[in-house]
């Protein structure tokens, strides 16, 4: 991000960067940056808190009026209030995982679980009027089935012209996670990302299926599939053995 600022500024356009990783910004030395103490993925802080977000963006933009640079790196003083867990939040019901963790069982559990969350996801849509599902370009039934077929080790062909099977697997897993995390946040309360992640990865059949899928794909001879499975399915902080 700071590098983009460097190039744009060299071309004559003033820039100010939001910084999430302060050591990276210190190394790149952009003309102006505002470091914010928020989690990765939330450069402007809490969702649905316009006043807080406006303070962040305005603090950053005001750096454009300073004449003391380059380099300006300022720190935003306040933490994201939504980073704290909300004890009032409860995830939607999903059945307990079966003791049998064979590929067929995991895939079948996933396919049974997906429609159970439809009601919760409808509530999400009613409240927010939007969804972030869509990278695969498939319907919910189709991306769910596509992931389940991969869990069953069928190595299904790509259902979309111009997109390789491993890429479609990545986008389908992204869509599946978006569906669950939106459904998970549909109830009362304002869950933190950690609460939602704990629920998805530890309690749902989808989380269990993606863990299993990662393991089987890592044993594949297909280097592209191994790359996607190793890096783009389970977040580094959730790979078992690191938490």
């Amino acid at each position: 991000m700071s590098a983009l600022g460097h190039y744009l500024e060299e071309e004559g356009i003033a820039t100010v960067a939001i910084s999430l990783i302060r050591p990276q910004t210190e190394n790149t030395k952009p003309p102006r940056a505002l470091w914010v103490p928020f989690e990765l993925g939330r450069p402007f802080g809490p969702p649905n808190d316009p006043a807080f977000q406006k303070r962040v963006i305005l603090t950053a933009l005001r750096l454009l009026e300073r004449d003391s640079g380059p380099v300006i790196i300022e720190d935003f003083p306040d933490d994201d209030p939504r980073a704290q867990p909300d004890p009032a939040w409860h995830p939607p019901f999903v059945p307990a995982a079966a003791a049998d963790s064979s590929a067929e069982t995991l895939a079948a559990q996933l396919e049974r679980e997906i429609p159970l969350l439809l009601g919760a996801h409808d509530r999400w849509l009613a409240r927010h009027g939007r969804t972030t599902i869509g990278l695969s370009g498939l319907s919910m039934a189709d991306y769910g089935r596509y992931v389940a077929d991969w869990v069953r080790e069928k190595a299904p062909p790509s259902p979309r012209d111009g997109f390789s099977a491993p890429l479609m697997l990545r986008f389908s897993v992204d869509d599946l996670k978006a569906y669950y995390l939106e459904a998970g946040a549909a109830g009362t309360g304002k869950p933190s990302s950690l609460q939602l992640g704990d629920w998805f990865w530890n309690e749902t059949a989808a989380g269990a299926a993606i863990y299993a899928l990662r393991k089987t794909c890592l044993a594949s001879q297909d280097e592209r599939l191994k790359l996607i499975a190793g890096n783009f399915m389970v977040p580094a902080a959730r790979v078992r053995g690191t938490v």
Binding site: M1, A14, V16, Q24, L40, G41, P46, L64, L167, D174
Partner: protein
């Protein structure tokens, strides 16, 4: 929060040690007061407007996001899964604060809001992005933009 101490040690070490370009100079462009600036957002979240091709791998180019893009049309296609998506799911302003920028424009705090905003995919090598960034500068100037807020994820 993204204090490195709050991340798993391996991830924190990787992020802190990530190779960054070592520029010999630091350019510095001044301009008028904020109330006279035309502002654009440039994100590195791999944002695409629904229906466009998502970023694949480490594509070095960028996507245009017109100012009238609706929140339901925005998708994150960043290759990394090591950042939170749930904030963006609830409110796209967490990543792409177009509503806030429009409010600042309506209030006269900034001069105006650019007609088009942009997104790269931030895990790409900055050296590969450079020609695209320089080409983007021409587009921004054509839109009279004289201030850019850079938004990472």
């Amino acid at each position: 929060m993204t204090r490195l101490t709050s991340l798993p040690p391996a991830q924190a070490q990787r992020l802190a040690a990530l190779e960054c370009p070592n520029f010999e100079t630091t350019p510095w462009v001044t301009g008028p007061a904020l109330s006279r600036r035309r502002v654009a957002i440039v994100s590195s979240a791999g944002l695409v407007v629904r229906g466009e091709n998502p970023f694949r791998g480490r594509d070095p180019d960028y996507r245009a996001i017109p100012v009238d893009t609706k929140p339901e049309e925005l998708l994150v296609s960043h290759i990394s899964i090591n950042f939170d998506r749930t904030g963006f799911q609830e409110d796209c302003n967490v990543v792409f604060p177009l509503d806030r920028l429009n409010e600042l424009g309506a209030d006269g705090v900034i001069g105006s809001v650019a007609q088009t905003h942009y997104s790269f995919m931030g895990a790409t090598d900055p050296v590969q992005m450079e020609p695209h960034a320089r080409e983007l500068a021409g587009r921004l100037k054509h839109d009279q933009v004289d201030a850019v807020i850079l938004s990472p994820v």
